[in-house]
């Protein structure tokens, strides 16, 4: 059976690599791969002469924080973490393996073995990221050290999930098995917390971060916390021990823990299959939901009793806007968009009126967030073509012109974000007036409030048009729903996409910026009017460019076929 599992794991990995290599025949992926490799080399691999060493796990950080962090991770898993998701298999695995003559232990063994490749990859990446291993031997020891640590943590997660399942299946007896380790974890946390509290004055008295770290290390190396942290120090030891005999000696206890953990997991008696099947079904449903609708968002659908009205007649493309707006409402993202301006307004009302400083900080915060959301917003609000393209075969059956679809999809993200930014800027304007006597007069602030809506819609329209355009024209460059796979070329594609987005956005801003500047220059004697007309001019010009782009992209949408985007 082990040979069968090995065959499945190896052939799957081999085929994934083959598919990725085959993708490199496409020049854009090849270029992206080179860029990604170059990026990794530049940041993490190139010789480090004269450079700061970057992140490091040496010394007190590795010797103290790593064991402490590992303890916290294990405690978290026992107290809150490992749900049935740890038991999830793919649907194909459930269909093929669960119906095959494989023992429960065999399934658990397969589950453990299947994660090894991912753990090994993570170990290599972490070794690079933390710049450990300036020699091949040191790199190898760190990779092995990470592998042992991550494998042990993974086994712990799986074991906890099995124990919880067992608790569910065996009633009181199961709960009894469950609370003993939880009590032990709580005791360990209590001992460590007490030690840290006792050592707090020493840490506070430290004059540098290094001294503070040494104080933490000294505190945790004494008394009961020393023994509590001992197994976690064993796990961390291979990462902070130099290559050679000392490292081999450090690996011994680490491997012993790994072995013990593996034995415990394999011997755990649990109603494994049922829980695993259920966990797998839940995972498949989540993946399906993400794929079928909305990219990264996995928030529970809620609030179905409340619906936005939709007139049966009128521009058909409004139906798409309505559908995407319903997504924002029902995934809770609407509240996520409304929360920052509402909270900022509440804070301003409570504390800002009496304190110019608070008002100033709030105002600057709101303005910065509004600007940041212009660039960052589209990465989280993805209720547009980036998600819809996965169902292009459905979209293409609708009686809509491509440009109408593009405009509706772009508007679906741009309008809510523009609304959020507008509210933030309104709060910023009020705060500005409260914070400083030098703030522009009320008339100018009113002019800004009147002038910016159109500008915000134009700016967001342009940004979303770029993101949608890239998705439509270069579907391999962006994540469509949950389909993005890991890989160096993905990193490179992200860089190219970001660069391309910024260049296009800059080009789109050029004309409207000049137009607005001309208006302001002409009306400079009447500042309020200049602000209103300048911002509106820029907004109208941006919207004009967006409409033009929508026409061009609409033609592309009419031509693109489902197979090209994996639909």
């Amino acid at each position: 059976m082990i040979a069968t599992f090995a065959y499945l794991i190896v052939t799957t990995a081999r085929n994934q690599v083959r598919a990725r290599v085959a993708r490199l025949r496409d020049p854009r992926y090849a270029v992206a791969m080179l860029l990604g490799l170059g990026y990794l080399w530049f940041l993490y691999i190139r010789p480090s002469t004269g450079r700061p060493s970057g992140l490091s796990l040496d010394g007190a950080v590795g010797g103290t924080l790593l064991p402490l962090g590992t303890l916290l991770l294990v405690a978290w898993t026992w107290l809150f973490g490992a749900d049935r998701g740890a038991l999830a298999f793919s649907q194909a695995e459930v269909t093929m393996l669960f119906t095959a003559p494989v023992t429960r232990r065999g399934l658990v063994l397969y589950k453990i073995a299947r994660t090894q490749l991912a753990i090994l990859t993570t170990s290599i990446v972490w070794t690079l990221v933390f710049r450990q291993g300036h020699t091949p031997a040191a790199a190898l020891t760190h990779i092995v050290g990470y592998w042992a640590l991550l494998s042990t943590l993974n086994l712990n997660r799986l074991g906890v999930a099995l124990v919880r399942t067992s608790a569910g299946a065996h009633g009181l007896r199961g709960i009894g098995r469950n609370w003993i380790p939880i009590a032990m974890v709580l005791a360990a946390l209590g001992i460590v917390t007490a030690a840290l509290m006792a050592g707090l004055p020493r840490m506070m008295a430290a004059e540098s971060p290094a001294q503070a770290m040494n104080a933490v290390a000294a505190t945790l190396s004494a008394g009961h916390s020393r023994w509590v942290l001992l197994p976690f120090r064993w796990l961390a030891a291979p990462l902070v021990t130099p290559p050679g005999l000392p490292w081999i000696a450090a690996m011994g206890p680490s491997l012993l823990l790994l072995l013990l953990m593996a034995t415990w997991v394999l011997r755990t008696d649990a109603a494994f299959e049922e829980a695993a099947v259920q966990a797998s079904a839940e995972r498949a449903q989540r993946v399906d939901a993400m794929g079928s609708r909305r990219g990264t968002v996995t928030a529970p659908v809620s609030g179905r009793s409340w619906s936005l009205p939709l007139a049966p007649t009128g521009a058909p493309a409004v139906a798409l806007l309505w559908k995407n707006a319903m997504w924002i409402v029902r995934t809770g993202q609407l509240w996520g968009l409304l929360a920052p301006p509402v909270i900022a307004a509440a804070c301003l009302a409570v504390a800002g009126s009496g304190s110019p400083r608070v008002a100033g900080v709030l105002g600057i915060g709101c303005a910065v967030l509004a600007i940041a959301m212009l660039l960052l917003g589209p990465t989280s609000v993805r209720n547009d073509l980036r998600s819809e393209l996965l169902h292009l075969s459905v979209l293409k059956t609708y009686p809509l012109r491509g440009r109408d679809v593009v405009m509706a999809e772009v508007g679906s993200g741009a309008l809510p974000l523009a609304g959020m930014q507008y509210l933030l800027l309104l709060v910023a304007l009020v705060a500005w007036g409260l914070a400083s006597d030098d703030a522009p007069d009320t008339m100018v602030r009113w002019a800004i409030a009147i002038g910016i809506p159109l500008l915000l819609v134009g700016l967001n329209g342009a940004v979303f048009m770029i993101h949608n355009g890239i998705a439509l024209l270069f579907p391999g460059w962006v994540r469509l729903g949950p389909t993005a796979g890991p890989g160096v070329e993905t990193l490179g594609l992200g860089m190219i996409t970001l660069f391309f987005s910024l260049v296009v956005f800059g080009a789109l801003l050029l004309g409207p910026g000049l137009g607005a500047a001309a208006v302001v220059a002409l009306l400079r004697e009447r500042l309020a009017l200049a602000v209103v007309l300048g911002a509106s001019t820029a907004g109208v010009l941006l919207l004009g460019e967006t409409l033009l782009c929508a026409r061009l992209l609409g033609r592309a949408l009419d031509r693109v076929e489902p197979m090209a985007v994996g639909s």
Partner: protein
Amino acid sequence: MIRVAGLTRQYGDFRAVDDITFTVLPGEVLGLVGPNGAGKTTTLRCLAGIIAPSQGTVMVGEHDVQRDPVGAKRALAFIPDEPHLFEHLTVEEHLRFIGRLYGVADVDARIAPLLEEFELTAKRRALSTELSRGMKQKLAIACGLLHDPSVLILDEPLTGLDPGGMRKMRATIAARARAGAAVILSSHLLTLVEELCSALFVIREGRCVAAGTIAEIVRTRPALAGLSLEEQFMALTAGDGATPGE
């Protein structure tokens, strides 16, 4: 009415659909049959305007699917074998969404009977994620029928339906045809095809190997006489390149 002339769809050097021609008049039900990989789904996707033909034309009424896709799509409904629904919309909201897309002014009046017809009334406020596979399929079909299409394209429409649902679906298809819709039905369920279809269009490797009523097909291929529908299908779609009677 739907008229297909010289429809060809090529992927690189591979011809998935090769020069097929047929017409389905109002009230007719054409059964599109063939083995797996014969080109049925590619044909249906070309007819629905999802993919473009490499050659040939598809006319839905007076609308050329390539030149006037919006006009053509307004008149047709394509119901795939796998229902694609929106997880954040309820059953009723799906119908309202489709109603707006197709400009159905009396959508309120149409929703209730459709929900009743497909036994979805009790689920009208349920999200699509809360529906069983069969109910999802029923909702997808209801969405397709909401705007009263004059051309109905169905790809394995009975997938996932229970026996009662299958029976109702058969009745629905027949009723739509009687009401004047031109129906194209692709299915491997030969009994369904035999029961509903007024004509067959058999394809193999992208090409038409037989077309017409069963009687017409048998008349041109005497070797098929006396065989069951399944045997006739096997004979027509056998991979040796020859069909009985040719």
